[in-house]
Subunit: 336 residues, 2 copies
């Protein structure tokens, strides 16, 4: 197995420093996340607690906080909207694990493995509904528009991914379309929310959007790359699980494109059936390594992060902007 390549974009700011810049903001988001899913239906906070304690990275809330405070935003809505985007993300994870029939997420049993598929579907629905409830009360119609658009996009991305399941000849272009919808759209929405709260100028808003889109694409590419390049302990789930479940990602797409006719047939046959893919995982990983699928993906992720960082030039300089650059770099330097 290949080790995670060290990327050339340096990490200029630590995660701890980003938290300091957020000045307790993320702690308040955590409190808000835990407070707002309280319900007299005890199963809902039970499952939601399990999710909230699952060690999520809170990338989306951090982006909402940073991109609003970048403009000196001092209100309370950044906390509310951080909760909203994290609920939508959590709902998606719940439903994803049902769709993929996953047993493990972040080194623990997935919620559906622990509580069953029906509970995961319904608590996911609750979190979707609650996120829109929170937005309705917060009363910024533009944000409702941004978030509902992103959520729609996200659902389309998930369906598209399902439709392309096992399709090893998926083009890079289509792959990018899927990951834009399923991941980058919501991350872009986080930056847009910040821009709306901070009353960014149209040019600043466009820069924030582009930053979010590029960070979001990089984030998903790295996620897909780590599935091949990391180890089970670091990853918190089995290596090669994406391919075993029929999800065709950039490292495989690159390998397939460059493979011999015989290798192409081997990959295509393996991708069609989950059991076959799982049994042949060693050979699949060798093929991906042979054509440096991981290196190719990591270079592309790096280019997106460079593009993201470039957009920051159009935004007010200062600690928050530095923290956003740090977050973008973290996205490609992370190991899980």
């Amino acid at each position: 197995m290949q080790s995670v390549p060290k990327l050339s974009v340096p990490e200029k700011i630590s995660h701890k420093e980003i938290l300091e810049i957020l000045d307790g903001g993320l702690k308040r988001v955590e409190a808000s996340i835990r407070q707002n899913y309280q319900s007299d239906v005890a199963m809902i906070p039970l499952v939601s607690d399990y999710l909230a304690n699952g060690g999520g990275k809170r990338l989306r809330p951090m982006l909402v906080l940073l991109s609003s405070r970048l403009f000196g935003y001092k209100g309370e809505l950044d906390i509310t909207y951080s909760t909203v985007v994290e609920y939508i993300h959590a709902a998606t994870l719940l439903h994803d694990d049902v769709v993929d029939d996953s047993d493990v997420r972040r080194g623990r049993p997935s919620a559906n493995a622990k509580f069953g598929n029906p509970v995961s579907v319904l608590v996911g629905d609750y979190l979707f509904a609650k996120s829109f409830s929170l937005m309705a009360c917060a009363g910024t119609p533009e944000v409702v528009e941004v978030v509902s658009e992103a959520t729609r996009c996200l659902a389309e991305g998930e369906v598209l991914q399902l439709v392309h399941n096992g399709d090893v000849g998926l083009s890079e272009e289509k792959y990018l379309d899927v990951i834009f919808r399923k991941t980058a759209a919501l991350i872009t929405a986080c930056c847009r929310i910040g821009g709306l709260l901070g009353k960014a100028s149209p040019a600043q808003y466009r820069a924030l959007e582009s930053f979010g889109k590029n960070v979001g694409l990089a984030f998903q590419i790295v996620d897909d790359m780590l599935d091949f390049a990391s180890d089970e302990k670091t990853l918190g789930k089995p290596v090669g699980q994406d391919f075993a479940e029929g999800r065709i990602t950039l490292p495989v797409i690159h390998a397939y494109k460059n493979a011999t006719k015989k290798e192409k047939a081997f990959l295509a046959e393996s991708a069609k059936e989950g059991e076959l893919a799982a049994a042949r995982l060693g050979e699949i990983l060798s093929l991906v390594n042979k054509y440096d699928g991981v290196g190719y993906a990591s270079q592309m992720a790096e280019r997106y992060v460079v593009s993201a960082t470039r957009e920051l030039g159009a935004l007010p300089a200062g600690l928050h902007c530095t923290a956003m650059a740090g977050l973008a770099e973290y996205v490609i330097n992370r190991t899980h």
Copy 2:
């Protein structure tokens, strides 16, 4: 098997007459429903078409249209919000069938039986998201609040129903709480939307709310009653399916309350296991008949409809009001 009891509230207006009063409104809702789920992800309109052609009663859109036009509302938003509530309803049906592992709905294979659980989960999410997207564009924040609150309530009701699965000792009070959340809340929201669009006075708004709540409760009680009182052909799904799937409804609750100790034990044991419940369905139906569970439920539904109809006195008289009374009566006179 018991036949559907004929209820004493007379049907004063036919379904055809209600459609005439709506003056093409429902046709425009149908067109809007089909237009707004178009997506470049072909699977989404494919599944949504299947649902839209499934012979739904469109009760919720009719309530939005009638309760806004009651006040002379002439705008276009009643069509949009009718689409919104129908999408939320459709999303719930999609997820319900996954949760219950149902094979049949309205006399055809359910969407999950036809397209698989993953597709049903994700297209449901798409319809949820799209409904909020439509609301965001329509720009009436109060409606977003009403609908998101109802959607949250709905999700809670579904979780609560799941938690109480197989619990044959469920109290009538808790049963009413579950059906209020899972069914009546969204139907109430339809009437509230109409009141908001039509600029109802506070007293009129309260009357509309109460009408919706009572109609919603009656609707679900009749649904639950028909599961025992109808036949498979009329019902479009097997008789006794609710009980076989562990859903404890009013006819069983009433029978259990009045049953002997031995019968109670029999019901409790049967309800716990789906297979046992299915095998013993004949005996269960006899027990429900012995204590007239269906008659009891139909009388309660009738009382709710009488209460609903009473609220109409506080609303502007005329054709729309008559149509609302007709709709309330249809709820208890329907056979499927």
